[in-house]
Amino acid sequence: EPEVTQTPSHQVTQMGQEVILRCVPISNHLYFYWYRQILGQKVEFLVSFYNNEISEKSEIFDDQFSVERPDGSNFTLKIRSTKLEDSAMYFCASHGGGEKLFFGSGTQLSVL
């Protein structure tokens, strides 16, 4: 079965540093998302992306966050200046037009 691939699986960074989380969505999907889950809390929506632009974003997704689809296969989440509270598991997801989202295995981001 096709799957969403995320790299790296773990990322450790110093507070204030920039990080880029990478995702390869399922190839024929057109809708892309980032969600995150802080330890012990619920999975939270960050941003949705369609047709090369952000279609919706949450309050969490402030100016420190950006997304990009630099080529036909990758979808990235950049955090410009990480904060301690950005530590979380970040999930990329995609779908091809239905309601069923396919999630990647996540990137565990630890900000020290």
Binding site: V4, Q6, Y31, Y33, Y35, Q41, K42, V43, E44, F45, S48, S55, E56, S58, F91, A93, H95, E99, K100, L101, F102, F103, G104, S105, G106
Partner: protein, 113 residues
Amino acid sequence: DQQVKQNSPSLSVQEGRISILNCDYTNSMFDYFLWYKKYPAEGPTFLISISSIKDKNEDGRFTVFLNKSAKHLSLHIVPSQPGDSAVYFCAASSESSGDKLTFGTGTRLAVRP
């Protein structure tokens, strides 16, 4: 603002018995509901969904029931198997919110052999 609530953080069930996971929501605009299963170190995996025009949807051992008047849905797993042990998330979406999913906090199911 917890629009989707799963009030039971954990549930333990004997193998072969029924597991019932509950979910409540407050936003009456939600019109589509999904259950996702999550194993450690993996992303959520879609399990089953239901539209607000239905009150029941069944897929093998999994059945989701929706009570719109009570703003309540439940996932029934029967018979439960040890491999069902995971965290189960309820999620909801509405036409007005686009395709954004709002998740509950999850219920950790443990199926005892």
